[in-house]
Symmetry: C2
Subunit: 87 residues, 2 copies
């Protein structure tokens, strides 16, 4: 079954408070040299092959998974041969 | 500057309520054939090259970014040549 990987990230210039918090926490834990942290979403979607997957995924991202005003998204299809890696 | 990409996902078998909610919402929006959705985190870290990046990233994931009891993580280094893609 096809598996889509969706990456949702804040657009450049949009403040990322969660990323800032992580950066501060890493610094408190003693990690030096961490200059910037951005936290986004990583979504795996197992979907039947209806022949129209790419259009569907595009609409899913636009309508539900991302906020296109402040977020970018990127869609990849998982390589079937490596699907078992995390199963 | 090196940029690390960290993917944090629930281990197989761990209930993912957020993924379930997304699956239900996609179904409500009329998307057919969505069988499973898993939501994880995608973290971009810009870090100075101290010569010890990989060990540091491993510890960051283990100590802060992921909960190793229920989550898996994967670390990749971004290809410098494609770094500009999302800047």
């Amino acid at each position: 079954m096809p598996k889509a990987l969706v990456y949702v990230t804040y657009k450049a210039g949009v403040l990322d408070p969660q990323g800032e918090a992580v950066r501060g926490a890493l610094s408190s834990l003693g990690f030096k040299g961490v200059n910037d942290v951005r936290v986004g979403k990583y979504i795996e979607i197992e979907i039947d092959d209806t022949g129209n997957i790419h259009d569907d995924l595009e609409r899913m991202c636009h309508d539900l998974l991302a906020n296109p005003v402040i977020e970018d998204y990127r869609i990849e299809m998982a390589d079937e041969s490596t699907n078992g890696e995390r199963q």
